[in-house]
């Protein structure tokens, strides 16, 4: 299928991670009494952001390679199609 799935996964995680991390930076520390005093929004947001970015990079590389393969294939095919003329 045309769409490399790592791109939407990466996109979702990058957006959600950035949102959580930003919220974690701006929020009041008293919020984190529940979570044992750890600013989990910031920490987990950064982890998700990093994961998202890695997925985007892998996904882009994957689709570039796929496109290159398709171009190579069509380049191979053209001369053979032209030969009979």
């Amino acid at each position: 299928m045309g769409l490399d799935i790592r791109l939407p996964i990466g996109g979702l995680f990058a957006v959600l991670g950035a949102l959580l991390a930003a919220y974690g930076l701006l929020s009041n520390p008293t919020l984190y009494q529940h979570s044992l005093g750890i600013n989990v929004n910031l920490d987990w947001g950064l982890v998700m952001l990093a994961f998202g970015l890695i997925m985007i990079v892998l996904g882009r590389r994957g689709s570039l390679r796929k496109n290159a393969e398709i171009q190579l294939e069509s380049a191979d095919r053209e001369p053979s199609q032209q030969r009979p003329h």
Partner: protein, 599 residues
């Protein structure tokens, strides 16, 4: 529960991505193969994650945490005994026939291997089952939204009566799932399942981390739990010395063999994900790749349940209890798990021994509320909703395929154009979801009918694996044998259930409805496992006997469908670490190791 804007934004971003994927994939759907089989173009790791995600419905996350709290680490048997071996078997031994026969569905394989009546029986019962399972998912999700009061505040602000919350939840979840399947078919469902897989991990991993940190790691957790609940095999020699109430033989044969192989090796809902793979080798690797995260899932879904029960019983903090909580009710709870309240009397629900009944299903929701601050709470709830939706979507995609190929194309309108079947697939998605909604509402009115249906499905499913095993590995098996075997298995299951009972149950839906009680099992679980064992054995024997008395099909017709008549696959081209046998051995070794660690 009060959600802040950030929680809502997270949920909305997720929904936007889910529908966005549907729109992006819509352009790629041109034929019915694209819609129902994702064009057979999906890489193995994507199919693998979709394979477990489709099964990761409501019963998984909520239910496994609930049994974690109730039975302890022994719940891991549902993974390490009740899933992994079957997943390895289907990948190594059965996928060559599913994928290699070019059947488009599991019922279609049955027609190729046996005959029309066997396919019809399987297709029709499967179609009904998927619609009801999807409806049960939908119902459970709407109930959870109600119980957690997620929508109460926004509804109040908009001046809408809270009586609408249930209906809005049902309609809303139906529309989302309908949206992305209608647009992109199976590819869209698979893509979203993979997305949901990562989201569920992202939502629950911090929960396990915070919880374990709070109770002092695994050792701290062990100290706060009764001795029996941190071992999976100790005490399994006798049903009375373990919390599950089952002995090892019933567990291994009933759960590990009959039920598990019957589900993972024959249920089209999961097999469909592997059939969408881009090559035979990828199809065979699909369940094996899926097995690796699957064996680690107990840490994600069972541990929160254990932590919830190990924590000190909570004072007034923000846990959800069924209704207004008196001091008596609160004290009856355990850890984060509240006591159940009888909805008629408004008092504590007590069991036979006068002890309060706990509402274990609230383990995960209460853990989320206990540990997650605003922000992460939005993520956790989104993960929970995602798990409901992936369960629903898995059933709907399996339904629309079986309906269109195995029922509509076979019995109602054969020989139509491919475009017509593509149109029918989209239409089937709409009425499949419509029927699920009907089922969800039926569940609100007639709780017993749902219990009864699930019981009937259990009877229908239990013998299935015997039919497939004989069909694939014994060329002499005939269509009449398969069909009569299946019927006899279902009848055996029903009779066994009708004359047995579990220790604390009353005759009726829980068994003994034939009037006599021949045997009393120590637990309902043991009764279910043994019902399955009886069904399987009966199907196995009757299929063999009838096959011996009926005429088998010509051997040349069975090439590619039966083990002994199919050429061994040449794996020469695939690098060693991608070979199914290597992966399968690795998966089994790791599972054995996990069992030993948590012995």
């Amino acid at each position: 529960m009060n959600l802040a804007s950030i929680d809502w934004i997270i949920m909305l971003v997720y929904l936007a991505f889910v529908l966005g994927i549907g729109f992006l994939l819509k352009r790629k759907v041109k034929t019915s193969t694209d819609f129902f089989l994702a064009g057979r173009a999906i890489p193995a790791w994507v199919c693998g994650l979709a394979f477990i995600s489709a099964n990761l419905g409501a019963q998984e996350v909520i239910g496994m945490a609930a049994s974690g709290a109730k039975y302890g680490i022994a719940t891991s048997h549902f993974y390490w005994v009740g899933a992994i071996p079957a997943m390895v078997f289907v990948g190594i031994f059965m996928m060559p026939f599913y994928y290699g026969s070019r059947a488009r569905s599991v019922p279609e394989y049955l027609r190729l291997r046996f005959d029309e009546k066997t396919r019809g029986l399987n297709a029709i019962s499967f179609a009904i089952m998927t619609v009801f399972s999807s409806g049960i998912s939908m119902y459970a999700m709407a109930r959870l939204i109600q119980t957690l009061h997620i929508l109460d505040a926004p509804f109040q602000r908009m001046n809408i009566s809270s009586g609408w919350i249930f209906h809005v939840s049902i309609i809303f979840s139906a529309l989302i799932v309908l949206g992305y399947i209608f647009l992109g078919g199976l590819s869209s469902a698979i893509y979203n399942e993979v997305l949901q897989f990562f989201l569920i991990v992202a939502g629950f991993l911090p929960l396990v981390w915070l919880g374990l940190k709070n109770v002092g790691g695994w050792h701290g957790l062990k100290e706060n739990l009764p001795a029996g609940s941190t071992h999976s095999w100790v005490g399994m020699s006798n049903p009375h010395t373990n919390l599950l109430g089952v002995e090892w033989f019933g567990l291994v044969m009933g759960l590990g063999f009959v039920l598990s192989f019957g589900y993972w090796c024959t249920d089209f809902l999961v097999v469909q994900r592997a059939m969408a793979a881009n090559s035979m080798s990828a199809a065979r690797r699909t369940p094996l790749i899926a097995a690796i995260p699957k064996m680690l899932f107990p840490f994600l879904v069972i541990l929160p349940g254990l932590i919830a029960i190990a924590l000190p019983t909570q004072p007034a903090r923000a846990t959800v209890s069924p209704s207004a909580v008196s001091e008596e009710v609160r004290a009856a709870g355990k850890g984060l798990i509240p006591a159940k309240i009888d909805s008629h009397t408004g008092r504590l629900e007590l069991d036979k021994h006068g002890k309060p009944v706990l509402d274990y299903d609230l383990a995960i929701p209460n853990m989320l509320l206990h540990y997650f601050p605003t922000g992460l709470l939005g993520l956790g709830l989104t993960a929970l909703l995602a798990s409901f939706m992936s369960g629903m979507a898995g059933n709907v995609t399996a339904f629309n395929t079986v309906w269109t190929y195995d029922i509509y194309q076979s019995y109602i309108r054969p020989n139509a154009s491919d475009l017509h079947y593509l149109f029918m697939g989209r239409l089937a998605t709409i009425f499949g979801i419509g029927l699920s909604m009907v089922a969800a509402y039926a569940a609100t009115r007639f709780n017993n009918i749902m219990d009864m249906l699930q019981l009937v499905f259990a009877f229908v499913n239990a013998p299935l694996f015997a039919t497939f095993l004989l069909g694939m590995f014994w060329k002499r098996t005939t269509g009449h044998g398969a069909f009569l075997g299946l019927i006899s298995g279902m009848v055996a299951a029903a009779i066994h259930h009708g004359v047995t009972l579990s220790a604390d149950a009353v005759p009726g839906i829980k068994g003994a409805w034939l009037g006599t009680v021949i045997h009393v099992y120590p637990s309902e679980m043991a009764q279910n496992f043994w019902t399955a064992i009886w069904a399987w054995s009966s199907c196995f024997i009757v299929t063999i006997v009838v096959s011996l008395f009926t005429r088998p099909r010509e051997e040349k017709e069975l090439v590619g469908l039966v083990y002994s008549l199919t050429q061994r696959l040449d794996e020469g081209q695939v690098s060693w670490y991608k070979r199914p046998a290597t992966l399968g051995a690795l998966v089994i070794a790791l599972t054995v190791l996990l069992n030993l660690i948590f012995w």
